[in-house]
Amino acid sequence: MALELKQSEFEIERDKNKCISCEVCVRQCSNDVHEYDSDQDTLYSDNSKCVGCRRCETLCPTGALKIRNREDQFKTNYNWTSSHLSNIYRQADSGGVLLTGMGSDRAHTVYWDHILFNAAQVTNPSIDPLREPMEIRTFIGRKPERLDFEINRNKDSKESLKDTNIKLKTKVPPQLDLSTPIMFSAMSYGSVSLNVCKSLAAAASEFGTYYNTGEGGLHKDLYGYAKNTIVQVASGRYGVDVDYLNKGAAVEIKIGQGAKPGIGGHLPGEKVTGDISNTRMIPEGTDAISPAPHHDIYSIEDLAQLIYALKEATNWLKPVGVKVSAVHNIAPIASGIVRAGADFVTIDGLRGGTGAAPQIIRDNVGIPIELAIASVDERLREEGIRYRSSIIAAGSIRSSADVIKAIALGADAVYIGTAALVAIGCHLCQKCYTGKCNWGIATQDPYLTKRLNPEIGTRKLLNLLRGWSLEIKEMLGGAGINAIESLKSNREHLRGINLNDRELAVLGIKHAGEAW
C-alpha cells in the first residue's frame, strides 16, 4: 500500500513522571490511539489516529497527558496552508468529497465581535435587574396587524374606567411562549444520541423554552416533553405523520441548514437500527436520504401549500415556521416565506453547525447570520410585513452577548445548537460524521452514548440557560431597558468597530464614536 502523505494533526505528550499506567486513556479513546504494553509497563500512543477531542486529557487522573496541535506539520506557507495541503493529500488518497462536522472553523469575519452594545449614562437611568422587574419573555408567532377591542361602558357610572368592560376582539394567532429568547436548534435523534435529545428536551421543558426534533422523528421517550417540542418537517419527511405534527408545540419546515445550504442529508443504512428506524418510520438498514430540495416545493406558492397543509393538519393551533440557510438573496426569500404564511422564519448562518457536511460547502457557501438578520428585518419592515412572522437567528451564537446583539439587529429569538453541545461536553473536534464521538454526543454506539448521563446533561443545559438569561438581563438593565421587546431591532444600541461603510450599511448600525 502506498504511503499516506497526510500527517498527524496532533501530538500526544505523556509525562512519564506522572503517568500511573491506569489505562483510563486507553479505555476512553474510541479511536484506539493509546495502547498499554504490559511487558514494558508503558503506554504508547499513535498520533496519527488522534482527532484532538481531548477526552483522554480530560479524564486522565494525574494530568499526565497533553494533546498539542502540530503547528509545524508543514513548512509555513500563508497561501498553501496546512489545511489545504492535508485536504489535498486526503483527497489524493480517497478520491471523494471531504466530510466534516460542526460549524466552519475558517477565519470568516465574525461580525458579533465587531459590534458593541450600549449602556445608559446620565441622560437615561440604568436598571438593576436584581431589584427591579426585567422582562425577557418572548413570543414566537404571527402577531395581529392591529388590535380591536370591545368596549362596554356603563353609562350611568361616574367612574368611567372602573366600570368599563374591555375585551380583546382580535383573535391572536398561536404563539410559542419562551421564558428566555433562547431555544435549542434542530438536532435529530440519529445525528445525536437519545441521551442528548433527553437532556435538551428536559432542560427546555424545565426552563420554559423549546427544543427542536430535527429531521429524525420523535422518540417515544420524549413524548413527555411534547409541550416544549418543535417538530421539524424536512425533505425526507422521516417520522412525519399527523400524530407527530400534533405532538409538537410548533412545526418547522426545514428548507436549508447554514452549514450546508442546498445540500441534503444521508444517514447510512448501518446506522438505521432498532429505535432509529422506528422513530424515522423506515425499515431497518435502509439509507435515510434527505433530498436536497423538497420534491414538492419548487416555488413560494408550493411552500405556501405545505405551510397551509400543516396548519390544517394541526387545526390551526400551532405556529408553522420555515427554516432556511442564510444565502445571498435571503431578504427577498424571507419576504416570500412570510407572504407564504409562515409564522416564524428561522435563518441559519454560514457558521452554523452540522453532524456531517461536505467541508467545501460548509466553509464556502452562505453568508454570516449577522448580515442576514439585519437585511431580512430591514426588508420585512420596508414591506410592512415584519409583524407577520417572528425571526429566529441561528448559526453560531456563542454567548449571551451574541444573543443580545442578534435581537438588537432584528431577531425575536435565537437557536443554539453548538453552544448547547459544548455545554454537555462537545470539544469541537469536528468528527461527528464518523459516529465515534468520544463525548457520547454525535454517536449511537452504546459504549459511547452512555458517557452522557442525561441527568448531568439537563443540569448543565439549565445552568447555561440560567447564566445567559441573567447576563441578558444585566446588559438590558445597563442600557436602561426593562423588556427584551424594547430591544428588538433597536439598532441604535449597537455600534460597529473596524467595519467599513458597506458593512455598517448592511448591518444598519453606526460606527463606534458616531452619535445622534
Partner: protein
C-alpha cells in the same frame, strides 16, 4: 464525618449501570484512598503492590458497573468469620474487617453473594473490602465518578429519586 444511622437509614452506594462508562476511576481513587500517602502519583508509583481497589468494575461487552460491599443487614461474611475480624458496626451499619484479627482463611470470600471481598496477599494474608470511606462525607468512588453512575444515598432517597433515570427527568415514576 457523616452522620451515623441505623441500618434502614444507612446511606449506601447505588449504581446506575446505564451510565457507567467503564473508566475505572472509582477503582483508582479507591486505591489512592487506601494508600499510605493518599497521593495518587506516589501511591501508584511506590505503594502500588500493597493496595487493592475495594470496588470492582465488572464489564461484559459495553455493559459495565462498579460493585463494592453492600453492607448487608444480615451480612453472611460476619457470620462466617472464624476469628471475629469481620464485624458489622451497630451504629453505622458498616461492615469492616479488622486486619489485626483477620487470619486469611477466606471464609468470608466463600460466602459473600456479591464477590466483593478480595484476597490481599501483599503482607500477612487479609481480606480486603469496602469500608464505605467512613471518614469521608461521600465515599471517594462516588466523589470521583465522572458520570455520576454511583450515588450515595439512603433507601428512602433512592425510592424517591429512583436510580435508573430513563427520561432524564427528576422524580419520575
Amino acid at each position: 464525618m457523616r452522620e451515623r444511622h441505623g441500618d434502614c437509614k444507612m446511606k449506601k452506594i447505588y449504581i446506575q449501570e446505564e451510565y457507567c462508562i467503564g473508566c475505572r476511576l472509582c477503582e483508582i481513587y479507591c486505591q489512592v484512598k487506601h494508600s499510605k500517602s493518599k497521593k495518587i502519583i506516589k501511591a501508584f508509583k511506590e505503594e502500588m503492590i500493597d493496595i487493592l481497589p475495594r470496588v470492582l468494575v465488572e464489564e461484559i461487552g459495553y455493559n459495565s458497573f462498579a460493585i463494592q460491599c453492600r453492607h448487608c443487614s444480615d451480612a453472611p461474611c460476619v457470620e462466617a468469620c472464624i476469628s471475629g475480624a469481620m464485624q458489622k458496626n451497630k451504629n453505622t451499619g458498616v461492615v469492616t474487617c479488622d486486619e489485626d484479627k483477620c487470619v486469611g482463611c477466606w471464609s468470608c470470600i466463600m460466602v459473600c453473594p456479591y464477590g466483593v471481598i478480595r484476597r490481599n496477599l501483599s503482607g500477612k494474608k487479609i481480606a480486603s473490602k469496602c469500608d464505605l470511606c467512613i471518614d469521608e462525607e461521600i465515599p471517594v468512588c462516588v466523589q470521583n465518578c465522572p458520570n455520576e453512575a454511583l450515588k450515595f444515598m439512603d433507601k428512602d432517597a433512592k425510592e424517591k429519586n429512583p436510580v435508573g433515570t430513563k427520561t432524564g427527568r427528576k422524580n419520575e415514576k
